[in-house]
């Protein structure tokens, strides 16, 4: 009787404990849970270990007289060379050069018989067009007059190069030796025309700490803007004294004839939007010093760093987009501080009278002769001179590197657009690698952040953006692997856009933040009185169960 009553009590306590565990705890868990959509964590972790392979297709065309007939029959159709670099523990690079050999066609032979290299380059381009990212090298005989004296390699406007066959070629017997001697030249040509290891590691600076890179290379990469899917270019004319100068600049025509061709050529890399403005009463932040020897005012290179800040307040940030802004300022000094010259560290005047600020833009000082009697004086600005300064600055800012060619190289003129095809390819190689690097770091750090802070709500649209960013990244890496540069660039741009959008999504900020002490303060009044009796009775039962076998033994004894 007593035992039955005890048993009933025990069963009741167990049942309540069971209800609390089976219903209460899941209910509490479910209602206080933060929504976290599924993220492709495994793929993101895979991307964190970046293994990039860059493939370049090289076509080597032998013209008549560079190979003996015997060799011609024996030349292999193709040859693959690979280089592997371990940049750091998470980043590996592999370069794969696929070289195809063939002899020149009759039409190509004709083209190569032109009198100058530039003409040959143009006629070769008329014959065939090579896809972006690839390189065609024509090997011409040593005696050929196409190349000027002392020049071994001519790099054309497009993706072709002319290479003078070395002297040892005729003597050499084995084809292998011929090809091997060519190989060193081809390597150099490729470093100029597609990419060098230095460029690629510089592009990876988002992932990899700059180690033993040359100061100059570092400065070069610092000068250029970070890769972005779009840029805003603003030309501003600063007129500090509108009472004495009435400035006219035909910026519209200048942009369409000097800047627009370059930008339309660079359209695959990024979107550009251009505008211009005139700012009145805008002054530089530094008072120029009068130099009696020059009979002019001077701005020293040391003081240039103080010039920009006061002007920048007037420039107006771009309200309509979040793309980086490249500023080009044309400053016409007022008549009291005119003429104004920029001097370098050794106090020599700078011939261009301009300077550039890394990742910001350029400033040019334009002196006018305001000798008119009646104020204000009409001034028509020579836009040719201005754009002659701004165009190279723009190229630098956009990351088009004009490194000095190795000895024996001659770089052809770059044509109307101001940018040769191979220069664009070079930029696209580095930019797509940079985009991939940036997007992977963004995505991995987002994944880390979400992993570390469990309270952040992950909405479906963020998960979707992350997934599509990961998909675009994988596509971009895949396209780089097969050497499809144009598509790789496009996918890498998409990846960067989507990853940034996911990273900066405002819904991530609605962090359900409950500090632990507040959580306990709210839970204790309910949980403590509920759990203590349950726990106590469970403990009591457990101790009874432990005692009972002991009792049994005692009885047996």
């Amino acid at each position: 009787m007593v035992w039955a009553e005890r048993h009933r009590g025990r069963l009741a306590a167990l049942a309540i404990a069971a209800v609390v565990i089976a219903v209460g705890v899941p209910l509490w868990w479910k209602t206080t849970e933060t929504y976290r959509a599924w993220l492709p964590v495994a793929q993101i972790n895979e991307l964190a270990q970046l293994q990039l392979q860059l493939s370049v297709e090289v076509e080597v065309v032998f013209s008549k007289g560079t190979l003996t007939a015997e060799h011609q029959k024996k030349i292999p159709p193709s040859n693959t060379r690979q280089e592997e670099h371990v940049v750091d523990e998470t980043t590996r690079l592999r370069y794969r050069y696929e070289t195809r050999y063939r002899t020149a066609t009759i039409m190509e032979e004709d083209a190569l018989n032109q009198s100058t290299a530039a003409e040959a380059d143009i006629s070769l381009h008329m014959l065939s067009e090579s896809p972006s990212g690839s390189v065609v090298i024509y090997v011409v005989p040593e005696s050929s007059t196409v190349l000027p004296e002392g020049v071994s390699v001519y790099v054309g406007q497009r993706r072709t190069a002319l290479l003078r066959a070395g002297g040892q070629m005729r003597v050499a017997v084995a084809l292998k030796e011929v090809l091997a001697s060519l190989e060193t030249w081809i390597k150099q040509v490729l470093q100029v025309m597609s990419f060098s290891h230095g460029d690629i590691t510089a592009a990876l600076s988002d992932r990899v700490r700059p180690g033993d890179r040359s100061r100059e290379g570092l400065a070069d990469s610092m000068r250029a803007f970070k890769s972005s899917p779009g840029y805003e270019i603003t030309f501003s004319l600063l007129n500090p004294d509108p009472t004495s100068h009435l400035l006219h600049w035909d910026v519209e025509a200048a942009i369409s004839s000097y800047i627009q061709p370059l930008l339309s050529k660079m359209a695959p890399v990024a979107n550009f939007s251009i505008d211009s403005q005139i700012l009145y009463y805008a002054v530089l932040g530094v008072n120029p010093r009068y130099d009696p020897t020059l009979n002019a005012y001077t701005l020293n290179a040391d003081s240039l760093s103080h010039v920009i800040n006061p002007v920048e307040a007037r420039l107006g940030s771009s309200a309509a987009s979040s793309n980086p802004v490249l500023n080009f300022l044309l400053y016409v000094p007022d008549s009291r501080h005119s003429p104004l010259h920029i001097t370098d560290h050794r106090r020599h005047t700078v011939p261009s009278n301009a300077f550039s600020s890394p990742r910001w833009g350029g400033i040019m000082v334009y002196n006018v002769n305001a000798s008119g009697t009646e104020l204000p004086v009409d001034v028509h600005i020579d836009m040719r001179r201005v754009m002659g300064v701004f165009l190279p600055q723009l190229r630098l800012m956009l990351g088009v590197q004009s490194a000095a060619p190795p000895p024996g190289f001659l770089i052809g003129p770059c044509g109307n657009a101001g940018l040769a095809d191979w220069e664009l390819d070079r930029l696209m190689w580095t930019r797509s690698v940079e985009n991939v690097a940036t997007a992977t770091t963004t995505i991995t750090s987002l994944a880390q952040l979400l992993d570390q802070i469990g309270n952040i709500v992950i909405n479906d649209n963020i998960a979707e953006q992350v997934s599509s960013a990961v998909a675009s990244l994988q596509l971009a890496v895949g396209q780089l692997e097969v050497g499809n540069l144009g598509l790789a660039m496009q996918y890498s741009k998409e990846a960067i856009l989507q990853s940034e959008r996911a990273f900066f999504d405002p819904s991530l900020l609605h962090l359900l933040y409950f500090p632990d002490d507040q959580k306990f303060a709210i839970y204790i009044p309910l949980f403590l009185p509920m759990c203590v009796p349950i726990l106590l009775s469970l403990l009591k039962m457990a101790s009874e169960v432990r005692q009972r076998p002991g009792q049994g033994q005692a009885k047996k004894d």
Binding site: V2, A12, A13, D275, I278, M530, I534
Partner: protein, 570 residues
Amino acid sequence: MAAFRSNIFMLAFFLCGFSVFVTGDFQEELVIKPLHSGDIYASFQFRTQWDTDFLLGISHYRLFPKSLGQVISKFSVRELHISFTQGYWRTMQWGQPFLPSPPGAELWVWFQDTVTDVDLAWKELTNVLSGIFCASLNFIDSTNTVQPSASFKPLGVGNVTDQRFLRYAVLPREIVCTENLTPWKKLLPCGSKAGLAVLMKSEKLFHSSFHSQALHIRPVCKDWQCKSTSWELRQTLNVVFDLHTSGQGKREWSLFKMFSRTLTEACPLASSSKVYVDITDNPQGELFELSPATPLVSQAVVLGDGRTYSVYDLTDHATFGQTHSLNVLLRWRAAEREMLRPLLHGERYVAGYGLQTGEIHTLVYNNHPYRAFPVLLLDTVPWYLRLYIHTLTVTSKGRDNKPSYIHYQPSKDRLQPHLLEMLIQLPPNSVTEVTVQFERALLKWTEYTPDPNHGFYVGSSVISALVPSVVAMDTNNTQERPLFSSFFPCKEESTYFMRIYTEPLLVNLPTPDFSMPYNVICLTCTVVAVGYGSLYNLLTRTFQVEEPSQGLAKRLANIIRRLRGVPLLT
């Protein structure tokens, strides 16, 4: 039915009229109007005009500010009107302003009909504008945005009047200060370096009874034939200096006393730069003395009344005289005179007691002795005041005045406000009272603003009307007119357009004690725990039959019995 339709269309057609300007340029203007109360009203207007099409890619800005141009082209804006106002314009003391504006921030935008998602464009636009003007315009969301059907028609050229492309929002709580003035000044071509803008010293401008700065962008006709359009940017700044706080009680005003600066030059980029002083009530100089004297006098029809102005042309060097500076001085001779009552005037207040219900009263005065005219009344009430629209009554002179047109859009909790638009005919010399009852809603505890006991603002009512004018309005658009009289386009000689704003309301909502949620949690938890505890005890306690213990007498008896050897009691 037909009558109110025609009225609305007349109003709409009238507002779509145009004004004509000859060239694309920059003009600046300052109007000084001595007020009857002894205060002084200064109104700056800057107009930049540009013949361009923003909707085509590259833009080359000269006088027009780049940041605004980018906004127009990115969001396909057709018209943009924004104003920031500190203080309330006292119509009964000061008469009509040139450009009315409600207290706080007001923004209304017409988008191009090519915009597909207007709400998204509006959201982004308000965020960008709040960045440009350093204001809290990002607080504009669907709960305070409405699409009025008739009150805000486009002021520029164009024939799209579909209200789907209009958004209107007021933030009555917005406080205007120097951080809003600096970006506004930066949009001027000369900045605050030259021209009239040198007078804008913020410590003086904000030490005033009323300060309002506004910006209006609209397409206007390039010439009188109106074959092509150009963009007009008007920046206006209105300020009223108080007789006692700014003027030390002396009825004597000068530019230096008002702005602590004098004028030395015109903005060199301006094609016209003028200072106007209203001398209508002072033809012979009997009321006040104006120095330096100026030979130039201009007549203009402003707000239905012919006014006379003394003009100082800053582009003329002779204006500055030998001191090379202009300090316009007004010295009163006579004491103040009664002002004519303004023809149209509005008031609003909340009636009722307690925190459950209330009543909004809007009074519209028609002070015209014999003319009746219609007005459009626009009310935007936040959702947490639940309007009982069946209690809406409109009475004039003690009789029911049935509105000829009512557009009512009910609110949705936390989504959209009430919008009430009515066309009411005002009888001559009358007060029309519009009342509507409301119930105060309980908010969620996170929805209360900081300092909720201060109350919640309800934006001003907007009264738009075509008011009969005293003199014939100037409808000849080919003629160059001062800027202050050319903002609202004018189509008819006998009437002029006027918009007035009533006071904003401050309504108290039932405000909880904000530690309440925690108290409630604690209390409920305790109650639940007590109930649960007793239930648990009842269920798990084991009951045993206890041997009843023997009484003390019995035990004693047993002891005695044992001693005696008699059988014990049980």
